[in-house]
Point group: C2
Chain length 320, copies 2
């Protein structure tokens, strides 16, 4: 474990103090409609209302604001066309330091523009792993920037862990917490917090059937990585890495799956009934609660709504 | 004034007690993004999170739960294809009494189904005023139902007035409140509350340019009714009536207008940045604040988000 340089709960407390000026303490919403539908009491932690529109700003801010002044001058860098790139851009902008984000040239222009809006230098690569790695290595060599990995970074995991810490302060007597799983940053942070302050609370991870590498890893007992899964929940395509696998394999109660149509239906129903804008990824937990009623009925369940950054002109139910 | 049977503030207090078990005390949201954009401090009263998805449930519940047992047996009726029909259906369902809603046969099936879901009898008419009046008269003659007008009803105005009463408890030191205006029920309720408990707070009404009958009435000093205005803000097409005109003409500071594109842009921006689902009608106040910066900059402004019932498959920016 020492080799992995894993964060501990003191790192979470330090992260929370460090990032508090830069993030929202997001609200908890409840829904009688969904409580009736599921038989559970659901508490939605609304990170879609978070700065930059997603929980990822917690980990990114912890990394950025924890840098020495010397390193900060050289800036930070990452590869991400999604919420981590946006969040790192936001955090670097708040500190006023350089940030480079390597993005496939095929990524939506709106996402590139949003990063630039926060002051990022957006560097395009071809949409392949080899191109991304080559371009990213160049960027780091040129700038000396600190690499902030989207999830397999102890500073990032400690930052994400502040989300469930807030939730435990906001809601009493939770029996379980559920969050979507892609690379496992949020789930690892949740494991880190709950294993320290509420070890009896069950931790569920929710994953798309079509990107079920974490599920298969969990059942197999070792990391299985898919090459290029296709799912509407585009934040959940990435595989587990050593640090997140540590937390997932040690602390997660179970990983539950949902089909593409179940995810889209749960997303649509959330917009329609709760009147909040959530990403497809955030709908995966609700979709799995709806199809695993016996697992959750009668329980008080914290549901982490991870983000709300969607293209409002291309909603997944438009074609169904 | 006696002739008009206007509600007074005691009616508002009574309404609030009566409906409290049946409505949500909706939260206030803020947005640094919109504060920066407008130079004002905006406090969004989120009636899109209200029961049945709109503030209209306040007035409808006040009417339904104020009925004598004798009248309640005969039920209630209204004509509305929108939030009032849905809200009256919800309230009647909660009390377990009959409710008939006369709806143009051309209204969206989803709206009819939602009313039926709450237990309403949906009676179709042709999409004309004459047909609606004839069919509605038949319904009332057959059932003896109590007519709950969507806005020109003292019970409804007193019910809507509870919204601004809550907002004044939730936010200190407001300089102004702004709400969309169609028939004027919400604006009248706001006038009723503020003229009694906060007479120095300015009251603005926001209206689509393409349905600007309240604006023209306000400037002319008497009610001007349009026959069939066309606007994306479909909750705001109806004209003022005598009771709402009383409040609007006596207490409103000004009525501000926004174009269709300004409304759509403000709606899109709200979804994108605040991650909440709001109706086109709710975007009219923000659209007018954005184009009348000098009126609002430096002020603490309460913005009533009236509802969130939209067809998620037909969003107005899809065609623009």
């Amino acid at each position: 474990m020492q080799d992995l340089n894993l964060p501990d709960f003191d790192d979470v407390i330090a992260a929370h103090e460090r990032i508090a000026p830069h993030i929202h303490r997001t609200p908890i919403l409840t829904s009688e409609y969904f409580d009736d539908l599921t038989g559970a009491s659901l508490f939605f932690k609304c990170e879609n209302f978070q700065k930059a529109g997603a929980f990822k700003v917690r980990g990114a801010s912890n990394a950025v604001f924890g840098l020495s002044d010397e390193q900060a001058e050289k800036g930070v860098a990452t590869h991400s066309s999604g919420n981590h790139g946006l969040s790192l851009s936001y955090a670097a902008g708040r500190r006023g330091i350089p940030v480079s984000v390597v993005v496939p040239r095929t990524a939506p222009q709106a996402k590139k523009d949003a990063m630039k809006g926060y002051g990022a230098r957006v560097v395009e690569c071809e949409p392949s792993t080899s191109s991304r790695e080559a371009v990213f290595a160049d960027v780091v060599a040129q700038t000396g920037a600190d690499f902030v990995h989207p999830y397999n970074d102890p500073r990032v995991i400690a930052g994400q862990a502040t989300c469930s810490r807030e939730m435990m302060e906001q809601v009493e007597g939770l029996d379980a917490v559920i969050a979507p799983i892609g690379g496992g940053g949020m789930v690892s942070g949740t494991c880190l917090t709950l294993s320290n302050i509420a070890p009896n609370v069950e931790i569920y991870a929710a994953e798309p059937e079509q990107a079920d590498d974490a599920y298969r890893s969990f059942k197999a007992g070792h990391i299985i990585a898919d090459d290029a899964p296709v799912t509407v929940a585009d934040g959940l395509k990435v595989p587990l890495k050593d640090r997140t696998w540590h937390f997932v394999s040690n602390h997660v109660t179970d990983i539950l799956l949902a089909s593409e149509q179940e995810i889209i239906d749960a997303m649509h129903l959330t917009w329609q009934r709760m009147k909040i804008v959530i990403e497809p990824s955030c709908a995966v937990p609700l979709a799995t609660i709806l199809k695993n009623r016996d697992t959750f009925a009668g329980k008080r369940v914290g549901v982490i709504i991870t983000g709300g950054n969607v293209d409002l002109k291309a909603l997944p139910w438009m074609n169904s």
